[in-house]
């Protein structure tokens, strides 16, 4: 048993160091005011992206294993001008888009996803941190 805990302690030490180095990009501070989302938590958003599996279609920076090629890459999404190539990239539109894209553009391949309003806000908040 002792051996196991030792391993865990060593692991934790190394992790701590890695955490300190990890970029604090997950807060909304670097995000311009017009892209901030009230009550949106980018970190929760990232977890939701993992849980829902956005990576099956999109390349999402900062999300491990999200290398999808079906939809567009979300690299530098904070600088993106249009959503779906049609609508302006604004928080209200984005929140609706991640939840139910077909309601905005009926031809899209992106389905309406089983996300709550809060989850959609978190995801949108995360996407705006990608700059």
């Amino acid at each position: 048993m002792t051996a196991c805990w030792h391993g865990a302690i060593i692991a934790r030490g190394v992790l701590l160091a890695a955490m300190v180095l990890a970029v604090a990009a997950c807060q909304q501070e670097g995000v311009p005011a017009e892209h901030r989302i009230v009550d949106g938590d980018p970190e929760r958003g990232r977890a939701a992206i993992v849980a829902i599996g956005c990576g099956a279609c999109h390349h999402v920076p900062g999300v491990r294993g999200a290398h999808g090629v079906v939809g567009p890459s979300l690299d530098a999404f904070g600088h993106r001008k249009l959503i779906g190539g049609v609508m302006p990239n604004e928080p209200t539109i984005l929140v609706q888009w991640v939840q139910d894209a077909p309601s905005l553009i009926p031809e899209t391949g992106m389905p309406d996803l089983p996300l709550s309003q809060a989850q959609a806000r978190d995801i949108a908040a995360y996407l705006y941190t990608l700059r």
Binding site: G7, R12, V50, R64
Partner: protein, 862 residues
């Protein structure tokens, strides 16, 4: 001859007899020019001719160096693996490369590093330690080395073309069958590794004969250094273990190339047969790697503590016991295949029993450290590191031997951790200790103690950080051989720790390379010598000819017990202080009590082994990439090279005996069991017989597992005529050979033509026997592709055929010797050895025929 020896020998000095009482074999002063002649005949080649060097001081260093090169290359592959696994769902490399990398890492570390490295150390150290001038078949070791090096490099390069094998280092079919691995990647493994194993066997034969026949006079078995014991058992294990995997690779390659269904379940084969063959080799393999390393530790610990090894006899017994027990545990790699629980209990018990010999050795080293006083030199640090890592690996080994625990951890990172502890602890650390310890023999300067300590700490901490963590990773559920893993299973942090550790190991190895570059100066004619105040013969002052004179040994640590030994050896007071035949030579002694029997003339530098090895490697590579014509040409050339070097062996015993001591004259050859070549032949027959036995096992196993679909009921057996006819032909052939054997004793006195005629008769009779054996099956309509029954029946003939091919070459060689007047009663090694092999072949043929014709009738088939 032996009577003369005992008179010529010196008194037993074990009781530290005063030097004045010693009766030296040779008196002083030595004649003018004797030493100069010795130096001249042993003068090493220079420049490009370094490739033609054959003596162990050169080939041994090349061999160790090459194995270390493969260690570094395979280590770099491991770093790429660790980088990919550092984080979950990493996209650093893809699955195709990853699967090739782990296959290559395991395969190279086992076949291109571990086994060759310990074999290489043996080639380098044994003659030094035994007091011989060289190993008995120097060209064979040169051939084995170059074949391994060329084949290994070609094998490694397959990774640059995306052709590297990707079926895992144990290559389980049906994943590795043509259906699921259609590319030639798997063929690279099967042909490349099969070939490198043949090279390992060649080395093992060399080592067995070297240890049994070329020891210093007086070095009876009870005075044999522990390392030599370990190497003897090592070589024996290769001889009995490797044939199983060679047969396995042959079967799988035949299945891939010609659709012979040995492992295809629908046609009566069984994929688990491969696992039995593989692990029957694969488990002893672990001890094949560990025993030589443990033997080295048993040499270094006494020197580091400046006291003889405690419990020498128990340690030797432990080594022998490990050798035997290790062949009874192969199933412990197969606990999860659904084997009945009774046999699981047996193998579980056997797996635990093997821990006892390891325990004996560990406590013998601890006791020796306590009996003396340790000097904290770099080798000592590595030995202490080894004790810790190996003990931990041994303990987890006992855990995985426990069946229910193994059901959980089998094929997980726990097992990865376990075998890295065992192999790194049990082999790599002792090897580093050994390199630091013995480099003063090979190099003008020893390695740096200061850098050495850094190397040790980086490796020790790195290994524990990397691999201790993996135990936990495995228990947390991570299977081995996965190129990626999901982020939600908590394996990311553990893997990151292992990756950091692996880079520490790499830093340690890099530092070691820097130390080598700064201080390793081999082949200069000078060496740093006995820097540790050690007790065994390799530390006598030496040149390329080893010691000036070959000492008479009276204890296990002659340098400690005979204080003037070095001085007397250098002065030439012991045996063979010069080169009386004008060429290279060493003394052949009897296997148990080491009495001088004859003087073996050794070859000097030669291109035949180098070229022969290149052609052999090209032959196998040609087969792999399907260039059959070029491949065949290389095969013929390889055989020509081997015959070239065989031609000048076996000089005439009737030539004058040679004086190796004031009162000791030795002949320059011997016949029968006294001859080193007889020992070589017997060892080779053991290899062949083991391979054949594995095939018999495969036959019986397939019958047992798949009896009902194995032999289709409509398949009729050949009539017994087809049993009697080939059997009769084999026996007639053997009878003709017996005549050859007897008649050779009458030469040169009587006419040689009856002998030649009998030989010309014996060869076609043997071939006809084989032909009749095959035709007998063929005429019933049996085909090797329709079922595994057909495949295995024809396989009996394939093996017989491969051996008959060798036999025909040997017979033709004897005929050529006779026609050129090189065969007589006093010069008959070729006929002795060929006859021995001939009779064995007849026996094997009869067993094969009985299995194919009688066994099915006994069990009521056909």
């Amino acid at each position: 001859m032996s009577e003369k020896t005992s008179e010529g020998g010196i008194a037993d000095t074990r009781k530290r007899a005063p030097t004045t009482e010693i009766e030296y074999p040779n008196s002083l002063p030595r004649p003018e020019g004797e030493l100069e002649q010795l130096q001249k005949v042993w003068e090493p080649p220079r420049g490009l001719r370094l490739f033609s060097a054959v003596n162990n001081n050169y080939v041994g260093v090349y061999y160790v160096g090459a194995s270390f090169l493969f260690f570094v290359l395979a280590g770099i592959l491991a770093l790429v693996i660790r980088t990919q696994l550092a984080m979950p769902e990493n996209a650093f490399i893809g699955h195709e490369l990853y699967n090739q990398l782990f296959t290559m890492h395991g395969t190279m570390m086992m076949f291109l590093f571990a086994v060759p490295a310990v074999e290489a150390m043996g080639v380098y150290l044994l003659p030094n330690m035994l007091g011989a001038r060289d190993l008995p078949f120097p060209r064979l070791s040169a051939y084995a080395f170059w074949a391994y090096f060329a084949g290994g490099l070609a094998f490694f390069c397959s990774i640059f073309f995306g052709l590297a094998p990707n079926g895992g280092w144990f290559m389980y079919p049906p994943l590795t069958s043509t259906e699921y691995s259609p590319g030639i990647n798997a063929d690279f493994w099967l042909l490349g590794i099969g070939f490198i194993e043949i090279s390992a066997i060649a080395g093992a034969i060399e080592i067995v004969v070297g240890i049994m026949k070329t020891r210093s006079p007086g070095m009876s078995l009870d005075k044999l250094p522990v390392y030599a014991w370990a190497m003897l058992v090592f070589a024996g294990m290769i001889i009995f273990g490797f044939p199983a995997i060679i047969l396995g690779t042959l079967l799988l390659e035949l299945e891939r190339a010609f659709d012979w269904p040995f492992f295809i379940a629908e046609r009566g084969g069984d994929p688990v047969l491969w696992q039995h063959l593989f692990w029957f080799f694969g488990h002893p393999e672990v001890y094949i790697i560990f025993l030589p390393a443990a033997g080295m530790v048993s040499m270094m610990v006494p020197t580091m503590a400046q006291t003889p090894l405690v419990a020498y006899r128990l340690v030797v017994l432990a080594i022998l016991a490990t050798g035997f027990l290790s062949f009874g545990l192969w199933v412990h790699h197969m606990y999860t295949t659904g084997i009945p629980s009774l046999s699981l209990s047996f193998f579980s018990a056997a797996s635990m029993a093997v821990a006892i010999p390891s325990g004996i050795q560990v406590f013998a080293w601890i006791a020796t450290l306590a009996a003396g006083k340790i000097q904290f030199k770099t080798p000592a640090l590595f030995i202490l590191g080894f004790l810790f890592i190996f003990t931990l690996g041994g303990l987890t080994g006992v855990m995985v031997a426990l069946v229910p625990f193994d059901w959980q951890v089998h094929d997980t990172y726990f097992v990865v951790a376990h075998f890295h502890y065992v192999l790194i602890g049990g082999m790599v650390f002792p090897l580093f200790a050994a390199v630091y310890y013995w480099i003063p023999l090979a190099s003008e300067r020893p390695l740096s103690e200061r850098i050495g300590k850094w190397v040790f700490w980086l490796l020790f901490i790195g290994v524990n950080v990397t691999f201790f963590t993996m135990h936990i990773t495995g228990l947390a559920g991570m299977p081995r051989r996965v190129y990626t893993y999901p982020q939600n299973l908590s394996w990311g942090a553990l893997n990151m720790v292992s990756t950091v550790g692996s880079y520490m190991i790499a830093a340690g190895v890099l530092l070691f390379l820097i130390d080598l570059a700064r201080n390793f100066r081999p082949f200069t004619g000078n060496n740093a010598g006995d820097v540790w105040k050690a007790g065994t013969l390799e530390w006598l002052p030496s040149g390329n000819y080893q010691t000036r004179s070959i000492p008479h040994v009276a204890s296990r640590e002659p340098l400690w017990d005979q204080p003037t030994l070095a001085e007397d050896v250098v002065a030439g007071r012991y045996y063979l202080p010069g080169a009386p035949t004008g060429g290279r030579e060493t003394i052949i002694t009897s296997p148990i009590d080491a009495r001088p029997q004859y003087l073996l003339k050794l070859p000097g530098p030669s291109w035949a082994p180098f070229l022969g090895a290149l052609f052999t490697a090209a032959f196998f590579m040609g087969l792999t990439i399907k260039l059959y014509i070029a491949s065949l040409a290389c095969g013929v050339l390889a055989i020509a090279m081997i015959l070239w070097w065989m031609w000048d062996t076996n000089p005439d015993t009737a030539d004058h005996p040679v004086r190796v001591g004031d009162k000791l004259e030795l002949p320059i050859n011997a016949a029968g069991p006294a001859s080193h070549s007889w020992w070589g032949t017997v060892t080779l027959i053991l290899v062949g017989a083991t391979l054949f036995t594995c095939l018999v096992f495969s036959y019986l196993y397939l019958w047992l597992v798949n009896g009902e679909i194995w032999l289709p009921s409509q398949q009729e057996l050949p009539t017994l005529l087809w049993y009697a006819l080939p059997a009769g032909l084999y026996l007639a052939s053997s009878a003709a050979m017996a005549f050859v054997f007897r008649h050779a004793g009458k030469l040169p006195g009587s006419n040689a033509w009856p002998l030649r005629l009998a030989l010309v008769l014996a060869i076609p009779l043997m071939i006809a026997g084989l032909g009749a054996s095959i035709y007998g099956q063929w005429q019933t309509g049996l085909s090797p592709t329709q079922s595994s029954y057909g495949a295995v029946v024809y396989m009996l003939n394939v093996i017989q055929g491969i051996y008959v091919f060798a036999l025909v070459l040997m017979g033709s060689f004897v005929l050529m010797r006779s026609l050129t007047g090189r065969l007589s009663a006093s010069r008959r090694a070729s006929v002795d050895n060929t006859t021995l092999f001939w009779h064995y072949m007849t026996a094997q043929g009869l067993i094969g025929l009985s299995l194919a014709h009688i066994f099915p009738r006994l069990v009521g088939m056909g």
